[in-house]
Symmetry: C2
């Protein structure tokens, strides 16, 4: 089908009636979508029909491929070693990439990480790294590739429009309540990662109220689709189903999160963050063929922390990107807040729940987030969480501290932080952070 | 819910999940829709969700009421007698209204008919009436109401924007493949008729390939919904399920259709048109309470044709609207074509099928239709169909005649008219025109 023969009304009808699209029709669709030739209302109707009728694995695979190639696809073929990447839904306090990138690079994988700037309660990985004085996240393609050849690790801001068709579809899904569709989510997540060029991809699939997937079972279903589509497109995909959790570690913000990542690379980080990085890292080393098993990968990762080589790799990455490596020894060289204001518990008991999004809301009030593109972020401010789920707290004892530059903003943020905590008499049973792991092997066995 | 609190995304989600909308939410929706405050893509997503999830009878009723009142609602309370109206999907060669209006008016009903101009292969009722020299279809509200008081019948062009919300929704449904939804069709059809103010409404529901409803069963389902919604809104509704038929009568066009209507009012019309008008008219007289039964209504209608009173009423209506009543005695006073060109059969046999839409296409080629608003129509041209389904024809004998003003156009139209006819050896069994009738009584009994 040429684009001249393409009819969007026919495509809507085909999907409404539950029929599968041909590769030719989908190719014309993506081409016209990126060219801006399809009316929003027709794309919206097609999206809703797809929410109801779904897509076959063949359709999902082909649409993923087409969307991935709707713009530039990063060519990492000149880079040594298996290239790995990680997708996260960008949870509050998610500094995994900061730890992950140097840790995997020193263990034999190449970590080519292109990140967008965060939109929301707190900034993204790129914003956090800019808390390091001099750190340059705006690399040209050549600088990025050369750094990968020299150091096997680079974390930079996305300059090119990777998978632009996904951006168009996602913007429309967001405002038409058509986000909740397994094939559409799979296409969105995988197309961007495929455009970013990695061989092995770790995908974090959130499950629970407020996540795309309401249950662990539905998150596993999405994972199985992404594994199969990834496999058909020649990518090693691992999916980790996690809960809609409290923030990882104790720090939410920018400079303070970098400091916590540095502590983790030194072997002095919080257990939840450290364990998750080792667990996921082991899986990715095995999936990319660096080690034979995930357990072997974990041993190597732990050793890299223990012998200081992971920290050294982080230092090396900072230098390569023009930053001041002295922050590794003295994190206070990064922007610091004027005030550290305790937020005392109003009652005694156990922390039953610590709501990540509400914590993020408090961070936003302090100036740690942006809601529109280009808005400035205060890299010094944030929240230190002293108490986390399952911890005992006495009335008057600090739940956490606000890292603030403005006392009025802090007063408002304190109230929001109070609301993030649910304190009760009973000691709660903590759910495991990782609910399920699905990888190439599990595809072969019983699902 | 105030319109300020209204969220279109929430409304889409509610429908996507299969929940019913509250009257308040639908009221805010219609208000914002007419104010132009809802993005097309959100309305499109909601329409597609509605196609899949449907609506409850409560929702359909309330949305019909709201859409009917989204603009002006004609107030016929000062008009004597029960006011009746008729909805037709505007088939090719459908001159039922021309016969119906004077016939029912002389039998005791008031026929207040507001029509749009036809868009398609041939014009609408208003266009046809303009073939009568001097006939004025642009009446003010006051002129229209006064004519109803004086003569119980008026057929005029719609000047006000009746049910504007329906126009907005319909335009979007047409381009997003969301037409096929029983509740959405019911809302569209009934809201316009309710805005037009009648007490008793006859609805023609087409069934078959190419119609909104693909089967007689689905057409009956739509009918039952419209009956129930009409009943809840205080309207007497009758639904007649008909096939996607060959054109009614022998004439397709404008002046020639008016001439055929006049012949029918004289008792000299084609059997299919005459029988249908009597059948439907009897139902409507009974439904509006003018007669006790449909059979009694039929007797009265036949008498009105036989004694000349129906024809006299048509004459009266023409005079009231400024037209020349002499056309009743001499139809050639209406625009006449330069040429009457026979289209000979290419084979002998029986007419198995005469496709109405293709006949309409031939009429369009001759200049009898318009595809965009405001386009001029040639009221003299059209098609006379000599042979209809079931008729025997010999090769060389005329299938019909093109009433043309342009020989080149006629040559093209002749080819299309040939394609409208399917001729075969076997004598076909003719299907009845009316497949089912559903009225208030049938709602009470078993459906």
């Amino acid at each position: 089908m040429s684009t001249a023969e393409f009819s969007m009304i026919e495509m809507i009808k085909e999907k409404r009636l539950g029929h599968a699209h041909s590769p030719e029709r989908m190719a014309a669709f993506v081409q016209k979508l990126v060219a801006g030739e399809l009316p929003d209302y027709q794309v919206a109707a097609w999206l809703m029909a797809t929410v109801f009728q779904g897509m076959t694995l063949d359709e999902t695979t082909e649409l993923t491929r087409l969307v991935a190639h709707s713009g530039e696809v990063l060519d990492l073929s000149t880079i040594p070693g298996p290239c790995v990447d990680k997708h996260s839904t960008g949870g509050v306090g998610d500094k995994v990439t900061l730890v992950f990138a140097p840790l995997l690079a020193v263990c034999g994988a190449t970590v080519a990480k292109l990140s967008g700037r965060g939109l929301g309660h707190t900034g993204g990985t790129i914003d956090k790294l800019e808390a390091i004085p001099g750190f340059n996240t705006s690399l040209t393609d050549e600088q990025f590739l050369q750094q990968l050849r020299d150091h096997r690790v680079a974390v930079a801001g996305q300059t090119k429009d990777l998978a632009p068709a996904d951006g168009i579809l996602y913007a429309l899904r967001d405002v038409t309540n058509t986000v909740e569709s397994i094939p559409l989510i799979a296409v969105s997540v995988l197309s961007k990662k495929i455009a970013a060029g990695a061989d092995a991809i770790l995908l974090d699939v959130k499950a629970g109220s407020g996540a795309f997937m309401p249950t662990v079972e539905s998150a596993k279903e999405l994972s199985r689709v992404m594994l199969e589509v990834g496999d058909r497109l020649g990518k090693k995909v691992i999916c980790v189903v996690t809960g809609m959790d409290q923030p990882l570690g104790h720090e939410v913000g920018h400079a303070n999160e970098v400091a916590e990542a540095i502590a983790t690379l030194k072997g002095e980080g919080p257990a939840d963050l450290t364990d998750l990085c080792i667990h996921l890292g082991g899986l990715l080393l095995a999936a990319s063929g660096v080690t034979r098993t995930a357990a072997e990968g974990e041993v190597r990762l732990k050793a890299a922390i223990a012998d200081g080589s992971a920290l050294q790799k982080f230092r090396e990455m900072i230098v390569a990107q023009g930053g001041d490596p002295a922050v590794v020894d003295d994190p206070t060289l990064m922007p610091q807040p004027k005030f550290r204001i305790p937020v005392p518990a109003r009652a005694s008991g156990y922390v039953q729940r610590l709501d990540a999004l509400t914590v993020g809301g408090a961070g936003k009030l302090l100036g740690a987030g942006r809601m529109t593109k280009g808005e400035a972020i205060d890299l010094a401010v944030g929240i230190h969480l002293s108490k986390k789920e399952g911890d005992r707290v006495e009335a008057g004892e600090p739940l956490g501290f606000l890292l603030a530059n403005d006392e009025a903003k802090a007063a408002a943020a304190a109230e929001v932080l109070q609301q993030a905590y649910t304190i009760g008499a009973a000691q709660p049973t903590l759910e495991p952070l990782v609910k399920a792991v699905l990888g190439p092997e599990s595809l072969v066995g019983a699902r």
